[in-house]
């Protein structure tokens, strides 16, 4: 039964309350998971596993359909056309693949070799016309979603590009790399506009262990467009042993300056995914040696205002279009759907 305080006064619809977060359902999958996304219609959650396959889970029925196709590596990035008809998948094989999301037995529509080495992230433009991808070849590429042709190649990153994100206005593209540099690009002409310096997310020769570590693992823009969040890790005292803490750096969009660092005390791990809730707070999917957590940050506070521990480490996270459900992909082969409303009695 819905708590009155958690219902929207105007519509009567349930209103998200992070403090009420609970795992509502979990489904076991064939292998440890590496990615998850809700489709824009909110009917499905799609997950990628270490077995190189995708699964589409119907949220209402709890039934799954497997996608098997041209990927021969992990599928770490997922996106959708705005109408939810087409699923885009990006893999560590460098391939970008188009799929009919709702097909009974999905077969790939198209596949392009988008990057040499890993394709680490993809983002679909708000109008659905373009797909941006990035990868270990230090490139950001913009693709025509309709025919798979390459529109533009953006160069300038000096190390692996970990994540990319279209601005909600569709005119700006962002990309973040291992060195903690977030580049802002003009979609229309591919021009490089400016950099956001997220250097605290990067550790060169981390702890003297001879490895470069960290990077911009997640990006999100606030609903009012006034801030950009870049997520990853800091305090990497033992990169090879997973001893580091999650960190989210909040930038003032207009000035490009750091306005806040969201830290999480007592938790080892990394912020794998950031999503702004329509109500303005930031949700971070965090995983690591302290297990899996969903952290909730307000833009005017350094520390989270609520944290929710998951049964297993979180490797990816997404927010449902209803603003209430959160999907998390886990190492223990489960996709979990949590709800930010009171748990049914």
């Amino acid at each position: 039964m819905m708590n009155d305080a958690a219902a929207d006064a105007a519509t009567g619809e349930p209103k998200a309350d992070p403090a009420q977060t609970h795992v509502a359902v979990q489904w076991e999958t064939p292998s440890p998971l590496v990615s998850c996304r809700f489709d824009p219609t909110g009917k499905y959650v799609v997950v990628g596993g270490e077995d190189y396959t995708l699964q589409r889970w119907d949220l209402a029925s709890g039934t799954a359909v497997s996608f098997k196709g041209p990927h021969d590596s992990w599928i770490r990035s997922l996106g959708f056309s705005p109408d939810g008809q087409t699923l885009y998948s990006g893999g560590y094989d460098g391939r970008l693949v188009w799929w009919p999301l709702a097909a009974e037995a999905p077969e790939p529509i198209r596949a392009v070799q988008a990057h040499d080495s890993w394709l680490r992230s993809l983002s679909v433009s708000p109008d659905g016309s373009k797909i941006a991808t990035c990868g270990n070849d230090r490139l950001v590429k913009v693709w025509n979603a309709a025919d798979g042709s390459l529109i533009r190649e953006l160069t300038g990153h000096e190390h692996y590009v970990y994540t990319t994100l279209f601005h909600p206005n569709g005119e700006i593209l962002l990309s973040g790399d291992l060195k903690g540099v977030v580049k802002q690009w003009n979609v229309a002409d591919g021009g490089h506009a400016r950099d956001f310096a997220a250097a605290p997310l990067y550790f060169a020769n981390g702890a003297g262990q001879g490895v470069d570590y960290g990077g911009v693992r997640a990006l999100s823009i606030s609903p009012d467009g006034k801030s950009l969040a870049a997520g990853g890790l800091h305090k990497a005292t033992n990169p090879l042993g997973a001893v580091n803490e999650p960190l989210v750096i909040l930038f003032n969009w207009e000035k490009g300056e750091v306005v806040r660092s969201h830290v999480t005390e007592g938790v080892n791990g990394m912020s794998w995914r950031l999503v702004h809730h329509p109500d303005g707070y930031l949700i971070s999917g965090t995983g690591g040696s302290s297990g899996g957590w969903i952290m909730f940050f307000k833009p005017d506070q350094d520390r989270e205002f609520f944290r929710f521990q998951m049964p297993n480490t979180v490797r990816d996270m997404d927010l449902h279009p209803d603003g209430i459900q959160i999907a998390t992909a886990h190492y223990d082969r489960h996709v979990r759907i949590s709800r930010m409303i009171p748990k049914p009695a």
Binding site: S73, G210, V211, P239, L240, A242, G288, Y331
Partner: protein
């Protein structure tokens, strides 16, 4: 008379070398006997006749699944694919595309089971061929090679480690302990500019006379070590250029890549060409409990260019026939991918790479099961490998050292070489 060593610790030997390194700044390059050790003209003959060994020590535990025994598409395979090599039917991980083109010079042992998951113990086993026990200490391969293969009149140290570390010589004595280099000439190798040659010569003479007088009554292993190190320091000063990788043309340095490993591999080639018996190049860090795939991507990217260039160069220069190449770790990494995208310590089923002198090229010895969790064919361990290394360079691995009148086997008598791997 056998000298009784008062301290056999690595720390002691290392401290000795550091101490001497500091003192070398005050040493002269004009000892009367120095010319006996400095004979550059003998290098060509050394190259032709002398067998040499180079070890690439992948410190921390190289993943066999991300290198020599990939299992793509299995539950342990991880995200990387397997690629064909220059040997038909042999595939290695896609992280090593340039090395893949040199595999006809190399061989893989895919069935190593050392049953040891501890860094220190694993390293000891792989570098000495024996399991560590409290009651005994054995010399590392570099020390054994230096003693067994280095001509007695060689002007150069026989055992070099890049970029440092302590290669203990145990009962073979400090003469065969490692000399550490970091890609640059040894420090303090130049005579101080404000010390005249004659003054320096006189100073060395005083040192020698004092040393001889002291040794005549109170000789010990420690004084022997000091004396040997001073003499060796003089030799190093004479031949210092061979340790200076910057003497290589820029084009060569570019071929090996801008990484430290590239510099170290080029230095290793330079040392081997100049008659050094044993060179160990270490590369860190493979102890990837976290983000195994990202870190192997980074590390093996450096390895691929530098190592493949090194192998190709040795082949092109006719040095493979006389140089044994070994790439090893203290252990491999778990087939299981852990919660942090990492792999943990795994001595149960992993791989070692060999090539060159005495090794059958293009061979694959042994096999693991479908997902790499167990050896299913021709299981071997550190003992077999140590015998094989020695046998490959023409040393009778069943032989013994005469240590103070006591026969001490070169390698563990309980094992034997991997015969089918030998050329």
């Amino acid at each position: 008379m056998l000298c009784k060593y008062s301290c056999r610790s690595d720390e002691h030997v290392l401290a000795r070398r550091q101490f001497l390194g500091q003192m070398m700044a005050g040493s002269a390059a004009a000892l009367g006997g120095l010319s006996l050790f400095a004979q550059p003209g003998s290098t060509a003959q050394l190259n032709k006749d002398q067998k040499r060994i180079v070890v690439f020590n992948m410190h921390g535990g190289l993943s066999q699944l991300e290198s020599w025994d990939p299992k793509p598409g299995t539950n342990t395979g991880g995200p990387f694919r397997a690629i064909p090599t220059s040997v038909p039917g042999v595939h290695i991980c896609e992280l090593l595309p340039m090395t893949a083109q040199q595999m006809h010079h190399l061989s893989i042992v895919r069935s190593v089971n050392t049953a040891e998951n501890d860094h220190g113990k694993g390293a000891y086993m792989m570098l000495t061929g024996r399991r560590q026990t409290p009651a005994s200490n054995f010399p590392v391969l570099g020390a054994v090679a230096a003693k067994a293969l280095t001509p007695s009149d060689s002007p150069l140290p026989g055992h070099i480690m890049i970029p440092g570390g302590s290669g203990h010589s145990a009962y073979l004595g400090p003469k065969y302990s490692s000399v550490s280099l970091n890609g640059n000439p040894p420090p303090n190798i130049e005579r101080l500019s404000n010390v005249e040659l004659q003054a320096d010569f006189a100073r060395q003479e005083i040192r020698r006379k004092l040393n001889e007088r002291f040794s005549s009554q109170r000789r010990s292993a420690l004084t022997d070590a000091y004396t040997y190190s001073f003499e060796q320091a003089q030799q190093l000063m004479e031949r210092k250029d061979i340790f200076d990788v910057s003497k290589e043309p820029a084009s060569e340095q570019e071929r090996y890549g801008a990484s430290e490993l590239g510099k170290h591999c080029l230095l290793a080639r330079r040392l081997l060409e100049n008659g050094i018996t044993f060179v160990q190049v270490s590369h860190s860090n493979y102890d990837t409990h976290n983000e195994n795939f990202d870190f192997h991507l980074e590390q093996l990217g450096e390895v691929d260019r530098a190592f493949s260039t090194f192998v190709a160069d040795l082949a092109e220069r006719g040095m493979l026939e006389s140089t044994l190449i070994i790439m090893l770790s203290e252990f491999g990494r778990t087939p299981n991918i852990n919660v942090y995208y990492g792999r943990d310590h795994w001595g149960t089923a992993w791989s070692v790479l060999l090539g060159g002198c005495g090794i059958q090229p293009g061979a694959v010895i042994g096999k693991t099961n479908e997902n790499g969790t167990a050896v299913v064919d021709r299981q071997v361990d550190h003992g077999h490998l140590f015998h094989t290394y020695l046998k490959a360079v023409g040393v009778d691995s069943s032989g013994s050292f005469d240590i103070g009148g006591r026969d001490v086997p070169l390698a563990d008598p309980a094992y034997s070489p991997i015969q089918e791997l030998l050329a």
